[in-house]
């Protein structure tokens, strides 16, 4: 499953998609987007990459196992609710701070953002946790099928388009 066009396009698209997903995450609080959509875009980017290259390369590019994303994401979301307890408010009450350097930076940063980051990571992790093993099996079987067709001159890609 290596196509020159897809490979080249993916090499260009991949960083763009990942940047876009972070863009969605960051703007989410004020404009359409957010952690869920961002996480899905990121997952789609990695899936695209795994189609263009293969799954093991994708896993290397990910650097961490998908379940680590899930765990870190959940932890992120859970921790983001803790500061509220320090101020004697219900768990997960939001808490905002402002970073201001006059003339340069004016960022409002709050615990909901970290919560959203958690959502982003969980969605990314779950999607890849399901999709990557499926792709792996598909790869294995298409290899089997290819071997089979070389030996027996049979049809390849069985079950894909049965009539």
């Amino acid at each position: 499953m290596t196509s020159l066009i897809l490979g080249t396009a993916t090499r260009l698209l991949m960083p763009l998609l990942l940047l876009f997903s972070i863009f969605l995450l960051l703007r989410g609080h004020n404009e359409p987007g957010g952690g869920f959509a961002g996480g899905l875009v990121a997952a789609a980017a990695f899936v695209l990459y795994s189609i263009a290259a293969d799954v093991s390369t994708t896993r290397r590019a990910l650097r961490f196992e998908p379940q680590n994303f899930i765990g870190v994401g959940l932890l992120c979301a859970i921790i983001s609710g803790l500061p509220a307890l320090l101020f004697d408010k219900p768990y997960l009450s939001s808490w905002w701070g402002q970073i201001k350097v006059s003339g340069f930076i004016d960022i409002k940063l709050g615990t909901p953002f970290f919560f959203d980051v958690g959502v982003y990571l969980v969605v990314l992790g779950v999607a890849l946790k399901i999709l990557l093993p499926l792709e792996e099996q598909a790869e294995l079987q298409s290899e089997d099928a290819r071997d089979f067709s070389v030996e027996e001159q049979g049809s390849s890609g069985r079950n894909l388009e049965p009539s």
Binding site: H29, A44, V47, A77, V119, V122, G125, P133
Partner: protein
């Protein structure tokens, strides 16, 4: 201040310590090895001392109460109280508990799972203490269930034996089923009485007895108590529970747990008692249990089963006395309760010792053991004399009081006297069998060569059996300090109690003598009685144990039937069930509330559709139709994709860009997922027949129509002020965000989202497990 605080939580910590200790028991056993029994026995020992010290105040007339708020909105607080009744039970539980733990150390010496056994036993001990000390109805129920579960674990301790497993399950199902009834009864009681504290309910007795729900409350509570205390017709689980190691039989199934039902009846007797129904039910079932237990006891040759049936008979006696409910009956109740715990605990331990030393529990195979096991024999004979209720033992006083009580009962006196006389005779016969058969006559060869047991095994009987003698001669030891407060707690008023061995020549003494003579006569005919074995088995074939088996069988059949019907593993069947149920229920409500004509005309009234909206809707419908009609998976998938993107366009038209974006992304990933899954699916084929297709189409159309109508109706009906206004107003000032959807997700409703992503994570891991862990054979 500090000491006051500590004192306040004394009972609570007493119970909780036991639960903690149960967890630590295996570790303690690993460290202390053979001495673990003695070490762990410190817990009930300390508990007994604490209760005895605290009991001084109770005797003086002050009940102790302490409460730990739990969920106060639900009326749930962990509250304990100590009055005369709980003091009597608490001391029995902790006192015999000490002996049983030591005994268990000797009895199960070297057993690989002894640590676990200690843990179960302590779990039971703490639950039982909690049960008799609990003042809150719901807390009482929790501990009640705790005793059922620990009893289950203990009966099934030899889990490699099938009979043990069956007996454990039977005990759990019978007592657990009764527990459910009890829960219902207690909840009704709490609602009717307006309190969840038993101490507060006691004052509400008249209100509750006059309430319309009194009958159901009483029936439910009685079912709970009768199952737990093995009253006829629920008695059959108790003899089977003798599969448990003997320390368990001695402790749970004679001295304590089976008396939980009796305790509950005594505890609730000021609240529920005194009515005609109460008296009738308790005397009827108690009397029946006395006779059934007594007769069946004589038909046994297994010493433990014999003792178990005689326990059933004794439990019947206690129920009967509570049912009569006069001062004399309650006094007899208290004395009989204590006496029974003493001699029956001792006898069970003796039975276990015999089993341990000879390798058999069959009374026929033992004989002449008094020469090789002198201490055990002496204690067994003393305890058996106590079981027979012959003077000068404590149980003799109990028996006299029992006869007094039935002689002075108000209704059906003759029947009650006859019942008491007969059961007294059965007790005498059973006692004679237990005392004579194993210990007298010629020494018989047993599977193991018998010799005297180690001290840990005879310590229990040596303490308990002579205690029956001492208390018989000096009943003053316990009348004032232990029995009077308990009687006062049951009656709800203090009554003077004076016990003595000699009451003069009176009808009670005559009855006592008659029962002794009858009992010895029954013993003489014991060999003949047992020869009726075959006929008896045929008779028992129709007994309650058979009903249980049939019931269990039917339950299993119904369970597998409904599983095949509802949980058959076909996704399409699940979807169909869900849609049909929802459509039927929601549709019914809609039609009855709104009327069919209004529903049918409403869409036409609100016909305000732009051209492009109609076109998009038509496209979605067409695509859905194409998906259904497609003859290849890829085509169906493409058509579904069109549906998904169409829906996201609709979101966009109506100003929900967030939803639209998410929908597009999810749809994209779904298509990829589907393509990957294709590898694992069998060849595409059209499996449904014509009928199935028409049926499915009809269900689908109905479901769709319902959803459409529902959306239209909810648009016009306002049940409560929608919350969206609040979100719109507060999204920016309070959530610092202009994207309301996102602010809701990560701030206003963040806890929901946290739950959702947790579920998502679990689902992801679950799917992964399904993919990876399936058997190799199913790979392709």
């Amino acid at each position: 201040m500090n000491s006051l605080q500590q004192k306040k939580m004394m009972l609570t910590s007493l119970v909780l310590c036991g639960l903690v200790l149960a967890l630590a028991a295996p570790a303690i056993h690993r460290v202390a090895r053979g001495a673990a029994g003695y070490v762990l026995a410190l817990y009930p020992f300390v508990a007994a001392i604490v209760l005895a010290v605290a009991g001084q105040k109770v005797v003086a007339g002050q009940a102790m109460r302490e409460a730990l708020p739990w969920a106060s909105e639900l009326g749930l607080s962990l509250s304990f109280s100590l009055d005369g009744l709980s003091l009597l039970f608490g001391l029995m539980i902790s006192g015999i508990g000490v002996l049983v733990l030591i005994y268990a150390g000797g009895y199960l010496k070297g057993h690989p799972q002894l640590g676990r056994f200690y843990a179960y036993l302590l779990l039971f001990m703490a639950s039982m203490l909690g049960l008799v000390l609990a003042d809150n109805l719901l807390a009482l129920f929790v501990f009640w269930e705790g005793t059922s579960i620990s009893s289950y674990l203990l009966i099934g301790f030899n889990h490699r034996s099938e009979t043990a497993r069956k007996a454990a399950l039977q005990a759990l199902l019978v007592t657990g089923g009764g527990g459910l009834a009890l829960l219902g009864g207690l909840i009704l009681l709490g609602i009717v009485g307006g309190h969840w504290e038993i101490s507060a309910l006691t004052a509400q007795g008249d209100v509750i007895r006059a309430h319309a729900l009194y009958d159901p409350i009483l029936v439910l509570v009685l079912v709970g108590a009768f199952t737990k205390s093995a009253q006829f017709p629920f008695h059959f689980w108790l003899p089977n529970a003798m599969e448990a190691p003997t320390p368990v039989s001695a402790y749970l199934h004679s001295a304590t747990m089976v008396k939980a039902g009796i305790y509950l009846l005594a505890r609730l007797s000021p609240t529920l008692g005194g009515t005609e129904m109460w008296t009738g039910a308790l005397t009827l079932f108690g009397g029946a249990t006395m006779i059934v237990g007594g007769v069946l006891a004589l038909l046994q040759t297994d010493i433990k089963r014999l003792l178990a049936y005689s326990t059933i008979s004794a439990l019947g006696t206690l129920t009967l006395l509570l049912g009569i409910g006069t001062t004399a009956a309650i006094q007899a109740f208290a004395v009989f309760l204590l006496a029974h715990a003493l001699y029956k605990g001792a006898l069970f331990m003796v039975a276990g010792t015999l089993d341990h030393e000879t390798g058999t529990r069959d009374l026929e195979k033992m004989g002449g053991l008094r020469r090789v096991m002198p201490i055990t024999a002496a204690m067994a004979i003393l305890a058996a004399v106590s079981l027979a209720g012959v003077g000068p033992l404590f149980s003799f006083i109990g028996k006299e009081l029992l006869f007094e009580a039935v002689l002075h009962s108000e209704n059906s006196r003759t029947l009650l006297v006859a019942t008491a006389l007969l059961s007294g005779a059965f007790f005498v016969a059973a006692a004679t069998i237990v005392a004579v058969k194993p210990f007298f006559g010629a020494l018989k060869a047993t599977p193991k060569a018998a010799h005297e047991a180690p001290p840990s095994l005879w310590l229990g009987p040596v303490v308990l059996a002579p205690l029956g003698l001492i208390l018989g001669i000096f009943p003053g030891f316990v009348t004032y300090s232990l029995l009077s407060p308990a009687i006062a707690a049951i009656l709800g008023r203090a009554e003077p109690l004076k016990l003595s061995l000699w009451h003069g020549f009176n009808p009670a003494l005559a009855l006592s003598g008659a029962s002794l003579a009858l009992g010895l006569l029954a013993y003489a005919s014991w060999p003949a009685l047992r020869r009726t074995q075959r006929g008896r088995e045929a008779l028992l074939g129709f007994g309650p144990a058979r009903w249980y088996e049939v019931g269990l069988f039917a339950l299993n059949r119904v369970a597998s039937l409904q599983t095949r019907l509802l949980q058959n593993g076909y996704l399409r069947a699940y979807v169909m069930t869900i849609i049909v149920t929802t459509t039927a229920l929601a549709g019914y409500t809609l039609i009855t509330r709104e009327g069919l004509p209004a529903l049918l005309t409403r869409p036409l009234q609100e016909w305000d559709v732009r051209f492009y909206e109609a076109a998009l809707a038509a496209l979605i419908v067409l695509a859905a139709y194409a998906a259904v009609r497609a003859d290849s998976r890829l085509a169906a998938l493409a058509a579904l994709g069109v549906v998904g993107y169409g829906v996201s366009l609709i979101y966009l038209f109506f100003g929900a860009p967030d939803l639209a974006m998410t929908q597009v992304l999810v749809d994209t990933l779904t298509v990829i997922l589907f393509v990957l899954v294709f590898y694992h699916l069998p060849k595409f084929a059209s499996l449904s027949g014509k009928f199935a297709r028409v049926r499915d189409a009809a269900i689908a159309v109905c479901g769709g129509a319902l959803m459409t109508t529902l959306v239209l109706v909810t648009n016009t009906v306002t049940l409560t002020e929608p919350i969206s206004g609040y979100f719109l107003e507060n999204s920016l000032p309070k959530g610092y965000g202009r994207n309301i959807v996102n602010v809701i997700l990560v701030d206003f409703r963040a806890l929901d989202t946290l739950g959702e992503i947790t579920v998502l994570s679990l689902a992801g891991i679950g799917v992964f497990a399904l993919l990876k862990l399936r058997p190799q054979g199913e790979k392709a």
